[in-house]
């Protein structure tokens, strides 16, 4: 079986019909990790239990039991998700030795569906970054060209998927962290509607924005994985009680008569020519398939980066307060150092445990929430957020989905933007508003830069309408000019 080019359903079907064992599939990917991970640094940890888990699936199949929708399919999990018994670091030194006693609900649901967990994928520290350069465990390389960033924060997931170091991966998206690296690495990544997927067990960055989602090779794989991980979780009271459609079964590449919106403000913001070309191609192709295009306006687009960063850092400053060296993780002081003051105990542990970007965001957020600044920053941002969401809801009165670039430029070289935080933040101009409005968004590969790096496009739908973007994404995938392109490492 050609595991490099098989979809998740094919692998699962093959395992269930015993054409291939889960163990063989797992070993295949473990071997690739062995061979390629030293170059890419996509995995932070590889599970020593992966083969054992695979054997358990094989036994279940042998006994004729229901081995699940993703039986024996090997997955890599972003290191922001807790995995029982498997070290979870969030890309930070402060959690360098944390072994969770529980699985995140997403991981649990994947396991229940038969997934084998291969290991933990690198990411920007606490998902704070757009290039995977802030990870304590080193930068991840883009499989298409190791001099380039894979994007972030789910850079490990994107790189592992593009290089096929897993059959499928899971990422998280707070301001674009699934869509942007998917875009940079030429894979499919979907951020579900806020509330579709449980956040339980996912290391929190910004609670009102975080969502986990699949980062996989095809739209079909995205639909299937999404089906498995979505749905109400009694452990997360911000999950929606809405029933989850059978995304994979309902998948239909039909865009005839569909109204696709183009956001005026996105078009006017100086796109890289290759990105512009990719978008133009997509418009042409989709028109050929019978879609109609309409112009819509989101006048508050310019505000999305400030509002996003003000809200995300505020929430983060509180979410990251628990890392204090008391209950788990890194502590700056040795056992015999008990004479330290409480204040120094905290400051030295947190000062040494967090990297620069994390400290920067915690401090920015602390400032925004502090007495005298709350109204002007945090509260004001939440008000603008409501207005911004309303503009999206209004736009969806004129169209069914939105099509847009994911970023203004393709992947950039490692080390070129990390020195200027504001410039780095402004890269997120097209992705953050989706999270602020709580909408589902997906990145689908559709082009290539002159340097041979992938370029994707972003589809956005109204709340809980993931099916729409999956369907349009499937249509795009079928006519994509870069269909079948693979990075050199494969």
């Amino acid at each position: 079986m050609d595991l490099l080019n098989s979809g998740l359903k094919e692998i699962s079907d093959a395992v269930k019909s015993k054409k291939i064992s889960a163990l063989e599939a797992t070993k295949f990917f473990l071997n690739r990790i062995d061979k390629l991970n030293p170059q890419l640094n996509a995995y932070i940890a590889v599970s020593v239990d992966a083969e054992k888990e695979a054997k358990a699936i094989d036994e279940k199949v042998a006994k004729g039991g229901d081995a699940g929708l993703l039986a024996g399919v090997p997955f890599g999990i972003k290191d922001m998700l807790c995995t029982k018994g498997l070290r979870t670091t969030a890309g930070s030194k402060i959690l360098e030795n944390f072994i969770p006693p529980y699985d995140a609900t997403v991981v649990k649901r994947l396991r229940d569906a038969g997934v084998v967990v291969l290991g933990k994928l690198n990411n920007d520290e606490f998902a704070m970054g757009s290039s995977n350069e802030t990870s304590y465990y080193g930068p991840v390389k883009n499989p298409w060209n190791p001099e380039y960033v894979p994007g972030g924060s789910s850079g490990g997931s994107a790189a592992a998927q593009a290089a096929k170091l897993a059959a499928g991966t899971i990422g998280t998206d707070t301001g674009g962290s699934i869509r942007q690296p998917a875009n940079f690495c030429g894979i499919v990544g979907i951020k579900p509607t806020y509330g579709r997927v449980s956040r339980y067990g996912i290391v929190a960055y910004a609670s009102s924005l975080d969502q986990a989602g699949p980062m996989v090779s095809t739209v079909e794989d995205a639909a299937l994985t999404l089906e498995v991980i979505c749905g109400k979780d009694p452990m997360d009271s911000t999950t929606a009680q809405k029933s989850v459609p059978a995304f994979s079964k309902n998948l239909k590449a039909d865009v005839k008569g569909l109204k696709i919106g183009l956001i005026k403000e996105y078009m006017q913001s100086g796109l890289d020519p290759d990105v512009q070309k990719t978008l133009d191609n997509a418009i042409t192709e989709l028109k050929k398939l019978g879609a109609e295009f309409v112009d819509v306006e989101i006048p508050l687009t310019e505000m999305s980066v400030p509002v996003y960063y003000l809200i995300a850092t505020s929430e983060a400053s509180s979410n990251l307060a628990r890392y204090d060296g008391v209950k788990y993780g890194f502590r700056a002081h040795k056992e015999n150092q008990m004479s330290v003051t409480l204040e120094d105990f905290y400051s030295e542990t947190r000062g040494a445990g967090f990297g620069t970007e994390v400290k920067r965001r915690i401090m920015l957020g602390t400032y925004c929430l502090s007495s005298g600044y709350y109204d002007a920053y945090y509260n004001k941002s939440c008000q603008v957020r409501r207005l911004l969401r309303q503009q999206f809801l209004d736009a969806f009165k004129k169209c069914d989905v939105l099509l847009a670039p994911v970023t203004a430029t393709p992947a950039f070289k490692i080390g070129t933007r990390v020195t200027d935080p504001l410039k780095m933040y402004l890269n997120d101009i097209f992705t953050t508003s989706t999270n602020l409005a709580g909408l589902p968004g997906m990145s689908v590969p559709f082009g290539k830069s002159k340097d041979g790096l992938p370029i994707g496009l972003q589809l956005t739908a109204p709340h809980f309408e993931e099916q729409r973007i999956l369907n349009v994404g499937l249509a795009m995938q079928q006519v994509s000019p870069v269909k079948g392109d693979k990075p050199h490492v494969i």
Binding site: L81, C82, T88, A90, L95, F98, P100, P101, Y102, A104, R199, Y200, G201, I202, V203, A204, A206, S207, S208, P234, M235, D236, S237, T238, S314, E315, S317, S318, L320, A321, R322, Y323, D324, V326, K327, Y328, M338, L342, Y346, T366, L369, S370, S371, Y374, Y378
Partner: protein, 476 residues
């Protein structure tokens, strides 16, 4: 109350621990004496990725308390994070409520030295408790069993003017939360904690003085003493021209003084903001109606009713309504015999005495209120005398047997049959010619001697009324 031309201004925060089975945001047990960190989970230890899910019972209990405190219930209240670093706070923030608490604008009334006081309740908000620090000198140990136990913080207005008022306010709050059965009110185990804000000002002054917070006071008597001490201390300081420092002080009952715990000079900046992990609490009108319907009659209303309908004195009504269990017991007793006054007497004398002697709670009493009612009925019907009733009561207290069963078993029925009593009277008069002669000669006192002899001869079973009647006739 004033002294030296000053008046005290006191406001009180009472932390009411709601007696849910599980914590406010997790399924951990709330049992008090569990082993170290036994009642914990990733949620209460604040592990990465853990999330709070609200316990519906905590909401219901909060609404119940709010209604009992005459508060309005917000139909949209919000959990907020109170951010500060302390080892007993596992997440680095406490989930509490800030600008949208669940209960607002209530009041309670009570009497102090016969004078009715009405104290406003500014708000009551839900929050999670912190863990427990165990100080060992060279290091501190942390137990998170308590972290996440639901609390309702009841905040009064700065309406109290004396230590006695403050103590009575705390007693009233405890009484109410025990009546509505949301808190066991155990001060020693910390299920009720009172923090008192005390300041002083010259009588007539508008501006409030700098307030000092008194924390961790574990009895109402100490609330009174601590505040008395603190008022004096502050007046002394002001008189000496010193400035009162805004600080938190602890009360030491052994020395009867307060001392500085921490100063609040670098004012805490808690950076409150709405907790994005919890949606706003929308309380369905249906829930409020349900809780309101289930609300028991509160102590004051009961006391008034007992005075009006049962003819009890204010003092008796007050004693009987102090605890809901006692009031319930009284009412059931009275309902069974329809003689409420007698029921009140029995409960306040025999019943409470035995309860205190045996250090028992009402739920441990082995007989039912209806049994006591029956005992009273037996007296009222003349079946037994009051004296026999006391004997029977003793047996009921020990064995839990029904009064009629005891009466039959021990053959304690009252003899009202006049021919039987007549015979005894005849025998006694015949055996005591001397006293009989004295009585007839006008020494009225001798009559009592005969009654005593007849009762003795009948082993106390003779109906005293009948005895008196027959003796009067026979000694003519």
């Amino acid at each position: 109350m004033s002294s030296r031309g000053y008046e005290a201004v006191i406001g009180i925060e009472v932390h009411v621990q709601l007696k849910t089975k599980s914590k406010i945001f997790s399924a951990d047990s709330t049992i008090f004496d569990s082993a170290d960190n036994e009642n914990t989970s990733p949620i209460s230890v604040g592990m990465p990725g853990s999330l709070p899910v609200l316990n519906e019972k905590a909401v219901e209990y909060s609404v119940k308390t709010g209604l009992a405190l005459n508060c309005s219930i917000r139909n949209n209240s919000v959990f907020a994070r109170k951010n500060y670093f302390y080892p007993d706070l596992p997440k680095g923030y406490q989930i509490s409520q800030y600008d949208k608490p669940i209960c607002e604008n209530g009041w309670v009334t009570f009497k102090v030295n016969g004078e009715e006081k009405k104290i406003s309740i500014t708000r009551a908000h839900m929050e999670e408790d912190a863990g427990k620090s165990i100080h060992q000198g060279e290091y501190t140990l942390l137990n998170y069993n308590r972290a996440g136990i639901p609390l309702l913080e009841v905040v009064s207005g700065p309406d109290m003017r004396s230590a006695a008022e403050a103590a009575e306010y705390c007693r009233t709050i405890r009484q109410i939360v025990r009546y509505v059965d949301v808190c066991d009110g155990n001060l020693e185990e910390g299920s009720l904690r009172c923090d008192c804000n005390v300041s002083v000002r010259k009588i007539g002054a508008e501006k409030l003085g700098t307030k000092v917070e008194l924390k961790n006071i574990n009895s109402f008597r100490f609330v009174e003493k601590a505040i008395e001490y603190e008022i004096d201390r502050q007046i002394d300081a002001v008189e000496r021209g010193e400035k009162i420092i805004q600080e938190t002080r602890l009360y030491d009952p052994d020395k009867n003084r307060t001392f500085t715990m921490r100063t609040k000079e670098d004012a805490q900046d808690y950076r409150y903001f709405p907790d994005p992990d919890l949606l706003p609490i929308t309380i369905p009108e249906k829930l409020i109606q349900k809780v309101r319907a289930e609300l028991p009659e509160l102590p004051q209303a009961r006391s008034t009713r007992y005075q009006k309908d049962h003819g009890l004195s204010e003092n008796d009504a007050h004693i009987l309504t102090e605890e809901r269990e006692l009031a319930d017991f009284y009412e059931q007793t009275g309902d069974a015999c329809k003689n409420y006054k007698s029921a009140a007497n029995w409960i306040m004398t025999e019943f409470l005495r035995e309860l205190n002697d045996d250090k028992k709670t009402i739920s441990q009493v082995v007989f039912k209120a209806a049994d006591l009612g029956q005992l009273i009925s037996l007296i009222d019907k003349g079946t037994i005398s009051g004296k026999i009733a006391k004997t029977i009561f003793q047996e009921m207290w020990k064995s839990g047997k029904k009064p009629e069963v005891i009466m039959t078993e021990q053959n304690l029925v009252q003899i009202s049959d006049s021919s039987a009593i007549e015979k005894i009277v005849d025998d006694i008069i015949a055996a005591n010619p001397g006293p009989a002669a004295e009585y007839k000669a006008g020494k009225v006192k001798a009559f009592g001697f005969f009654v005593g002899q007849v009762m003795k001869a009948s082993k106390g079973q003779a109906n005293p009324d009948v005895v008196t009647k027959i003796l009067t006739e026979k000694l003519k």
